[in-house]
Amino acid sequence: MATAVETMLTRSPRWFQEETAQVSGVLFSQCTLSRNLSDFPFPLRCTEDEKQAVVDRVVSALDSVNLLSSGTFYSLADLDPVQIRFLAERRLLTTELITATGPRGVYVSDDQSLSIVVNGDDHLALRALKGGAQLQDAWARLDALDNSLGSSLDFAFHDERGYLTSSLDQVGTGLKAGVVLHLPATVTANRLNEAASSGSDERLTLGGLIAGIGLKAHAAYSAEAEGVERIREQSLLTNTTGALCGSPGAALGELFYLVNRGGLGQSEDEIVFQVGHIAATIEQAEQQALALLVSENVCAVQDRAGRALGMAAGAYLLSFSEALSLLSSIRCGVAAGTVAPDSMPDLNELTISSQGAHLEIASEQRCDALTLNQRRADLFRDRFARK
């Protein structure tokens, strides 16, 4: 089982290779559905025996709908903390699963674009990932997975309240539809508030991606044997909402997450449409801001990207936040046409592979924060020195 996780290092997820040819302000799209079995309490109130029974039933259902032939179910008890964080860095499992206790696990499809978290906050959290602005496709895939599992499992459902979830925020559709946006020109032009408010009427939230496991989860995770210092500021992780976010001003690498709030009173299709529509509006505003920046002072854009490329090719120590900042500047240069777009595949892949657990597994050793910064700089020099 352990080996299977490590082999994933050499296999890039399908979803972040999908938009390689296109420079897009939307890095990827992601949908998460919360579901619970009708005859068990939610994990918060489950006994260990009940949690084990939930795991057994879900694995049996995965088998009966032939999902185990195209993916693997990992029990968390069989994985070490680095492997768990590795899967979390690939957005396949949530911080709620990491901090939960008792029997729990995650199913991951072979192409790493589908995952099913078992016994996090809810019995199941189904997730589909797609590269670029493909929220409709991600939802279509998730809907099919939900229907398939629903034929074998009885989900908790109430005629008026819809799908019942442990969080009052998720009840109804149980759907969180979100996109990760890269908005360097919007930040530079000081138009972040406009972008953040553009979705507020539609009950959408724009947050800035932050590193670490979040304040709420931090206390629970620090109780584990794993040293907190090694995981702090080293990973972009996800929760059931889809991403760990702070205020837009706190965003790392000028990366933002747009997601719906609430699941009652709207159908899944309405939610997906609205998130996609507002994301397109924000992306359009970003392109206009970038065009203005280029027309007013193209030298500044060239300088920013050029300096970033120089540091990427020459640095010997790189923190994770600095690496994201460099990638942001280079990606901005590509979008503005000042950097050749053939460097784009590296940027998508580097965003994922420069995270802490990825570096630890690649170097086949446990690393402290300083060693991780060295490994990250080695990785960047290797990729950018060849360009």
Binding site: N36, S38, D39, F40, P41, F42, L44, R45, D49, E50, A53, D56, R57, S60, A61, D63, S64, V65, D121, D143, D146, G150, S151, S152, L153, D154, F155, A156, F157, H158, D159, E160, R161, G162, Y163, L164, T165, S166, S167, L168, D169, V171, G172, T173, L175, R203, R261, G262, G263, L264, G265, Q266, S267, E268, E270
Partner: protein, 173 residues
């Protein structure tokens, strides 16, 4: 509405008692409520000091007690904990606390009515699951009563039922 105790006067107070998590409610007139209040404080010396303090209305006291003590019949989660943390214990909480949860739900959502996709239940399996849930609830009570022999028997019964259910699910496909 007439008082549910004397059946003569108009009811003006909702009186609730919580015993072992079970809530029983009655609509009472002020006279019958006064009798209940007297009964509840009888035998306590501190009751004598009470008139010197400004006391909240009987209805408010009762409501506060009800709110803090109410437990879900399915999982035992306190209503107060749900309202504070925004996290529910089991599917039955949504039915048991339907009225109390409508306010936090209205704050979080566009409306209180689901408009998305609908689940299709298999009746036979739904019945089996309902039976299983009853057994699990019983097991909790038995464990609370520390009857470990009965608990072991129930656990075996639950395990057999779960295996049967899993087989029927595999067979359904």
């Amino acid at each position: 509405m007439l008082c549910q105790k004397c059946h003569k006067n108009l009811a003006s107070v909702r009186y609730a008692e919580v015993v072992d998590g079970e809530v029983t409610e009655q609509q009472l007139c002020s006279d019958c409520m006064a009798v209940y209040e007297h009964d509840a404080t009888a035998g306590f010396e501190l009751a004598a000091a009470a008139p010197t303090m400004r006391r909240p209305s009987a209805e408010r006291v009762v409501r506060d007690v009800v709110r803090s003590e109410r437990k879900c019949v399915g999982c035992g989660r306190l209503l107060n904990a749900i309202l504070e943390e925004g996290r529910v214990g089991c599917p039955a909480c949504y039915t048991h606390f339907a009225e109390a949860l409508s306010v936090p739900l209205a704050e979080r959502h566009r409306s209180l009515r689901h408009k998305g996709k609908v689940v299709q239940h298999d009746d036979t399996r739904a019945q089996l699951r309902a039976g299983l849930q009853n057994k699990r609830n019983l097991l909790r009570s038995v464990l609370r009563a520390e009857d470990y022999e009965e608990a072991a028997r129930l656990r075996d019964e639950i395990r057999n039922l779960e295996q049967g259910l899993m087989l029927s699910e595999s067979g359904a496909d």
